[in-house]
């Protein structure tokens, strides 16, 4: 289907189903239960999952295929966000032009930075990209405050021109981003007994774009271009002596992944119209690196999983305070309850970083290929069990067990 082979189609369909039913999948716990804290099915987080998914998928096109580790991709995310917000300020609150401009501008930005940085490889390349991104961050935070809003971020104001739209709503408020009138924050709740599921317009727009982006990534991975990129990673020397110019290949990969980042940035601003400079800091670049490695660099679905994993911890674990803990363990006798709270306390709430750090280490130690590898192992386990249970020996064993 769509020019993909069977496994890829399956993968795409899985992602599509996951995206479509995310509001259900992410809200498995009834609202009244103590575990409701672990529900992640609210619009903002769902949007974040897919947006960072796009970011990571794009990053992986560069890193996973060519092995060039950019430590400055957050800069493109930032450029994307700033362009989108400027579009909202100047043109209209429609998200389409905003997203287009983000992709375009980040592409141009990536072309310039990539052209310079790709003159070096390995760690030297990483540091060059890092330096560019850090410069962008530092300047956006300070000297460029008039363009970027500096510390407080670039925001919409009541007196923005918005030449194709309105400066303020009838109620005297700033209009919100919308897709031809469909507000991005528009949500619809489905209440099924004790369960509540939220369907949000912005989320589904992001999800659709993620699907498109993911589909493109599959195509790129499977294309001759993708193969050339892997060849670059494997042996540049051989590439050159085979009559291939590696520079345009790596540059194209860099620009494409920069545009993915810009797209993610534009979407981020479309869901929540504010662009902060921290989006460009090295920690943000580092985050996407971590997402990709955590999920499984070079795999298609890995980066999306990694993005979900990190964002989940950031948003869910950080909200578990002692109050919540006491709620969970309330059924226990007092002494035990306090003991449990004391044990869990350092790992949640303000300790969420600790948990994340420990999980990073566990994943990379025990699952060298990232989360995808974990999934494969589980898969293999099941498959092996299947084989066993159908094999003649297993049958015999079952019979024996039955007889005993």
């Amino acid at each position: 289907m769509f020019g993909l082979d069977k496994t890829d189609t399956k993968l795409l369909l899985i992602v599509a189903v996951l995206c479509l039913f995310a509001p259900f999948i992410l809200n498995p716990f009834p609202t009244s239960s103590g575990l409701a804290q672990f529900n992640a099915g609210y619009p903002d987080l769902m949007q974040r999952f897919v947006i960072f998914g796009i970011f990571a998928v794009g990053f992986n096109i560069l890193f996973g295929l060519t092995g060039y580790l950019s430590f400055g991709h957050a800069a493109f995310l930032g450029v994307g966000s700033y362009s989108a917000v400027w579009m909202f300020k100047l043109l209209s609150m429609n998200v389409i032009p905003a997203i287009l401009l983000s992709v375009l501008l980040s592409g141009v930005f990536a072309l310039i930075i990539g052209y310079v940085s790709l003159r070096r490889s390995g760690i030297y390349f990483s540091i060059l990209t890092l330096a560019f991104a850090q410069m962008s961050f530092a300047l956006a935070y300070s000297v460029f405050t008039p363009i970027t809003g500096g510390e407080t971020g670039l925001q919409l104001a009541l007196d923005d021109p918005r030449i194709l739209g309105i400066s303020q709503t009838a109620g005297g408020n700033i209009p919100v981003p919308a897709l031809f009138g469909l507000e991005m924050r528009a949500s619809w709740d489905l209440v099924l007994g004790d369960w509540q599921f939220t369907f949000n317009a912005g989320y589904y727009l992001c999800a659709l774009i993620l699907l498109a982006a993911f589909y493109m990534a599959i195509r790129i991975f499977r294309s001759p271009f993708g193969m050339m990129l892997r060849a670059v990673k494997s042996n540049q020397q051989r590439m050159n002596y085979t009559g291939l110019n590696t520079k345009p290949y790596t540059l194209a990969a860099f620009v494409i992944s920069g545009m993915y980042a810009g797209l993610a940035g534009g979407l981020m601003a479309s869901m929540d119209p504010l662009a902060g400079a921290e989006r460009m800091q090295w920690t943000a670049s580092g985050e996407v690196v971590l997402m990709t490695i955590l999920g499984g660099a070079g795999t298609l679905i890995g980066p999306v999983l990694g993005a979900g994993f990190i964002k989940y911890f950031e948003n869910i674990f950080s909200k578990l305070n002692d109050n919540v803990l006491h709620g969970w363990f309330a059924f226990m006798p007092d002494g035990l309850e306090n003991l449990m709270v004391t044990i869990v306390h350092p790992f949640v709430g303000k300790g969420w970083h600790l948990t994340l750090g420990i999980l990073f280490m566990l994943v990379v130690i025990f699952l060298p290929g990232g989360l995808v590898e974990g999934g494969q192992r589980v898969g293999r386990l099941f498959r092996r069990r299947d084989i066993k249970s159908t094999g003649p020996e297993a049958e015999a064993a079952q019979q024996r067990n039955a007889a005993e």
């Binding site: 890193f63 092995g67 580790l69 310079v116 003159r119 070096r120 490889s121 390995g122 760690i123 030297y124 990483s126 540091i127 060059l128 890092l130 330096a131 560019f132 850090q134 410069m135 530092a138 300047l139 935070y141 300070s142 000297v143 540049q236 090295w282 580092g286 690196v289 971590l290 990709t292 490695i293 955590l294 660099a297 350092p346 300790g351 970083h353 600790l354 994340l356 750090g357 420990i358 999980l359 990073f360 280490m361 994943v363 990379v364 130690i365 060298p368």
Partner: protein, 343 residues
């Protein structure tokens, strides 16, 4: 003129901090080839060795002072350090005062131990793994170390002053014939500079005058073959890691009086130290030191208000600008070796 001399002095001092941190990092990163995102954490742990020692020395028993009240109006609890009980008030106070220099001795075994445990327990398994995996695991470790320190010491900076004799500054300008008050320089920074020079010299000597450096370099390039030549490369890597941790730790201990240690100080230095090492050139110790000083001095110049007025924001980006310029003009940084982490 005096403004320039002043900034050179400041630059040397900043540079010695950068050089010292980068030195430890380049032993692990440039020599062992491990992208160690936990290096900043090692630096931070060093600084907290100083904090811990001063906490230990000021361990106190509480007595109630009925004449004063605390914020709730209760009688004030007064803390009397045990050091006073054991050594008498004079020696006790002197010990507390000298906590930071004493922490140097204290930190060496601690940091060596930290380094050994870290290498044996974790890094050992990652030499052959992709750099990306190394980043993930060491970053995870850095977070864990930070959070542990935060759990015990809080997030706020903890003042850790230098001994009284080193506090304050001297008038360097007046000593060399300038007007008074034009070029002043704090004593502790002079100490820091000298200390950095000493450590850098010692590490150089060790790697230069023994075959240790060559073996480790060879081991990094090709562990298998070095093993075939009968050399136990694992042990040497462990030692190297321990030394690097100790260097990072010492840099941290000495830095504590300059800026009060806090749990995320390592992260603040992390990016910078990577930049310094790479600009110096992968695998080159002198390169890292040179780059440290160079960036320190240039950063100081860029912070002069005359320069900022000329190019607004230059002080924000100078380090990165210099890094980009150097990396574009010299493919392997200042003194990099061919083939180290170029792919």
């Amino acid at each position: 003129m005096d403004a320039i001399i002043l900034q050179i002095l400041n630059g040397l001092d900043k540079g010695s901090a950068y050089a010292l941190i980068a030195l430890g990092l380049t032993l692990i990163f440039g020599t062992l080839g491990v992208v160690n995102f936990a290096h900043g954490a090692l630096f931070m742990i060093g600084a907290f060795c100083a904090v811990t020692l001063s906490r230990i020395l000021t361990l106190s028993r509480t007595t109630i002072d009925e004449t004063q009240t605390d914020f709730l109006g209760n009688p004030l609890k007064v803390e009397v350090p045990y050091a006073h009980d054991f050594f008498g008030p004079v020696v006790g106070d002197a010990l507390i005062d000298w906590a930071v220099p004493l922490a140097i001795l204290f930190s060496i075994p601690v940091m060596l131990l930290v380094g050994f445990v870290m290498e044996r327990g974790l890094i050992k398994h990652f030499y052959k793994r992709p750099h990306a995996d190394q980043i993930l695991v060491t970053f995870g470790l850095a977070i864990v170390l930070q959070e542990v320190i935060k759990y015990f010491y809080g997030a706020n900076p903890i003042p850790t002053p230098a001994p009284d004799v080193f506090r304050g500054s001297f008038d360097f300008g007046a000593m060399v014939g300038f007007e008074a008050n034009q070029i002043i320089y704090p004593y502790w920074r002079l100490v820091y500079f000298a200390f950095a020079a000493l450590i850098i010299g010692a590490v150089f000597a060790f790697l230069q005058f023994t075959t240790f450096g060559m073996v480790v370099r060879a081991g990094m390039a090709d562990r298998e073959t070095v093993g075939l030549l009968g050399i136990d490369i694992d042990r040497r890597f462990t030692i190297m890691f321990g030394i690097a941790a100790a260097v990072a730790g010492l840099a941290g201990v000495m830095y504590a009086p300059i800026n009060s240690p806090n749990y995320h100080m390592g992260m603040d230095f992390l990016v910078l130290s990577f930049v310094v090492v790479v600009v110096g050139g992968m695998g080159s110790l002198p390169g890292a030191v040179l780059a440290g000083f160079l960036l320190g001095i240039l950063e100081s110049f860029a912070s002069m208000s005359a320069v900022i007025d000329l190019i607004p924001g230059i002080n924000q980006v100078i380090i990165y600008l210099v890094a980009i310029t150097i990396l574009l003009t010299r493919p392997r940084g200042l003194m990099g070796r061919k083939g180290v982490m170029e792919d």
